[in-house]
Amino acid sequence: MLAPLSWLREYVDIDVSVRELEEKLFGAGFEVEEVIEVGKDVSGVVVGLVKSVTPVPDTHISVCTVDCGDKGTFQICCGADNVRPGGKYPAALVGATVIKTARDHITPEGVMTISKGKIRGIESEGMLCSGVELGLNDDLCPGAEYFGLLVLPEDAVPGEDVKPLLGLDDFIFDIALTANRPDCQSIVGMAREVAAVLKKPFKMPDLSYAETGKTIDFDVTVDAPDLCPRYIAHYVSDVTIAPSPAWMRRYLALVGVRSISNIVDITNFVLKEFGQPMHAFDLDFLEGNKIRVRRAEPGEKIITLDEKEFALTPDNLVICDGKKPVALAGVMGGLNSEIRDTTTEVVFECAKFARDNIRRTARALGQPTDSSQRYEKGVDEYATVNGVKRALHLVEQLGCGKVSSLHIERAAGPDPAPRPLTVSISKMNALLGITVPSDEILRHLAALDFAPEIEGDTLRLSVPPWREDIDDHVSDIAEEVIRSYGYEHITPRFLETARVTAGGRADEQTALLRLKNALVSQGFFETVFYSFFSPADLDTLRLPDDAPERKAIRIKNPISEDLSLMRTTLLPSMLNAIVRNLRRGNPAGRLFEIGARFLADELPITDYPEERKTLSFGVFGEGETFFTAKSALAAIEEAFGLNFRCEADTLPFLHPGMTAAIFLGEEKIGVMGALAHDVAADLSIDKPVFLGQIDYKALESHLFGTMKYRPLSRFADERRDLALVMDESVRCADIEDAVRSSCKYVRSVDLFDVYRDEKRVGAGKKSLAFSVLFSPEDQEFAPGEVDKYVDKIVRKLEYTMGITRR
């Protein structure tokens, strides 16, 4: 929201500095994002009275003697054709800054500082300026776009700074407004707030007008009062289309609106001043002297002012004459009823349209306008009622037409009026936690036009009609009072009245953190990836069409196709991160993520889908193997005293000989493996990559086991190393199981060596060496007892699995 200081000053006497006003607005909830100084690039330019003009022969240059009052008299060279003795022009003296223009003298090219110089050998002590060189245009200052010097008024005093004279000392506040204050999306609304923070009176713009024009037969019907709660039409005759006066063009230019013509400018002026969008129809184009507000017919078409054609639906509201649509309500007028230079009769439209409908129409048609954006934020009917009056006053003021008495107002509800409200002061203070003095309550609420009265604990108010955000509860008033009185009056306190509660993490949250820390201790780094991924990610994994991962929930309005599906597996995100790392020259790493897989029973979803907490891990880089990657499992086993079992498995994207299904007990809870060669080749990966995914939800219930202490045995453990020779096909885990089940004293079986040698071990054979720990129970092992157990184990291995001792 742009609010020029000069425009605000029309309605409130501002006697504080720009900085101070900015701070006061900030304190009241209006963050000034930027203060734009209109003439920030211009300095040191004064009024210069040209005393004499001496043309330099054979050039377009003249040497001028310029009287700059108390600044002195200077010799300045000038090439403009409109310099004449006795004229007053902006004179940029040495050290001044002005807008630099390109060779065409029109296109701005940054800022330049004036220095003493010579033009064609003639000394020049400054520069006489054009409007463009001062950053002006015709709207900001009439004549500014003339290709020559900017002519200053005759009463300008030589030597005085030109900035106040040309409005270059003005400031524009760019204010961020919260969604609850649409009434402040206007100069009048902001001026009210400025008046409140400064405790100054607010001067309402003049709304008076005399009904001097002729009247005609005209009718308005509103078929959709739900979408148009108030529609006002007012007829103006004897219109003369002409340019607007300088002051109006200037204000519009300061807030970024280009001047068109008086009637159109008046509607834009009211839009900015009152926050009320208006439209002016040329009566000539309104067939049947009638306006009808209705939903569009299916397929009905309209061409808007910007010459775009739209096909409409009953979701769009249109303004029609007796026959056809003439405007897309609240968005833009129709090309067929546009104000022309020859327009002589005008019907002003001033209406409130439902903001949701306008928003949907503007979005659906891709046609946001100043008007639609204003409606989307919310227009109050107080502005609707007054906006039209203001427009009629301006018609009178500009003398561009005769206001008639033909005023048709169709309203679904009562006219906007102040609403009575009573609140308890003690409740308000209780919510704030402080006691706001009564005189402060009165002072601040009076400044905000709430007409407060206090009687005991009762605060009687009259809510201004433009404050549609006030919900008529004590908290609304508490908010108004504290933002005005100041949050610095709040005294921080620490829950003196609240009851003690036992806080802390739930078991699940503690377990999750422990799991993360266990992985971190194995050199894994935690990552966080987006919850959505790309359909192409599933193709990368070569997942078949009927894979459960393909049953992903789709986002209706994704940022892009790449982020359009809710994840059904975490592995693509992990793989993408690994690819990204390798491309960026990060050669190795171990990563993990704990995130949700979104599992839908049916698509589209009709209930909350399951968000299944899942662990994924990725290990990449030279030296990493399936077994270094498997340390992720070991970390979890150690941290929680679990035993996972791996069985060979296959998956489309993993190496067929290096893929394991991970079991906990009899339940398959995950998979891990090496990235398949063909997938790696597709992704141009030339380093080992291992991926794994574990269903955390299935794991979770096993993570709560409390630690249990086993009393220390008085008897010493004994350890034996077993080097065993077997066929290649024999699996390590099977031997471990067999060893364990052969003797009840075996506490642990740890593989420590794998050896292959055709001569010593044999072809197609391997030697695995295990360290086996025997723990006695209630008495010491007798000499030779453990060796007997070893012999028994070896015999059993030999008998059942054909394994021999080496």
Partner: protein, 341 residues
Amino acid sequence: MNEKIAQIRAEIEQKITTMKSSSALYEFRKTFLDNREGKITGLMKGMKDLSPEERPAFGKVVNELKSWAISRFEAADAAVREAELAKKNESERIDVTMPAEKRPVGALHPITIVTQELIDIFAGMGFDVYEGSQIENDYYNFTALNTPKDHPARDMQDTFYLTDEFLLRTQTSAGQIHVMENRRPPIKILSPGSVFRSDDDATHSPMFTQMEGLVVDKGISVCDLQGMLDTFARRVFGEGVGTRLRPSYFPFTEPSVEVDVSCFACGGKGCKLCKGTGWIEVLGAGMVNRHVLENCGIDPDVYTGFAFGMGVERIAMLKYGINNIKALFEGDMRFEKQFVR
């Protein structure tokens, strides 16, 4: 005889200094003191050839020689061992400035680090943790939070919709409703989690992490809100950091405030981090809107409460000086390794 003794002494004196190792010295010693073959032992053995009168004097002289030799060899042995140890130590000398051999250690993600730090702070104040779901329905994400149907915040521009009813939650505030529907005051919960907005630029990520706090009990006021946030600011950003409340608007709180913390980099004097203002915006908060309490069946005339919500990434970025929010979601090892602790 004395001549022989002098000769042995001379031989020992002469050669003992040439022995460079304890093993050589040991061998040399054996040639004199070995029980069977030692030269000094040999002298003792020759005593039987002497007359009884000569024996005591001879025995005395030989014993003197023997004890002199033993002490002489022991001294020499100590010297040699010392030299040997010094040599061994010297040979084992290392460059202590060389880097340590490290066990590979990973790191938690900064979002986790900050989330857990916040949980620790608020758990100590009696908050427990509620984690809602990422997919929410319209009612919990908006309607119950007093966000009317035509509110701009509900616009398709901001919210990711899955169906007309289900969406990706835009705020962890949705969790407030689930908690308040199922619990009665006193309520003190913290609700961390991923939220989603259809924003994707240098400072916005379509997914980010919020931490929502909610307190509902009798007599809760704005003063309590600021008191708690002051504690939070001190614990997260350091002693001496305070908060400033300024008016704002959220549909589900009233009054609503933006909360700034005094700049911990410059102490409030104004610097690049705080853009010269001395304050840094960190969170939004307010008193729970009475309609929200009513929607959850809590009597707003009996109970009041406050809620606050902050962006975990923002806190992490401020704390660690991370300049690009996207870096948090890329898993780049160069990023990851900076959070080892």
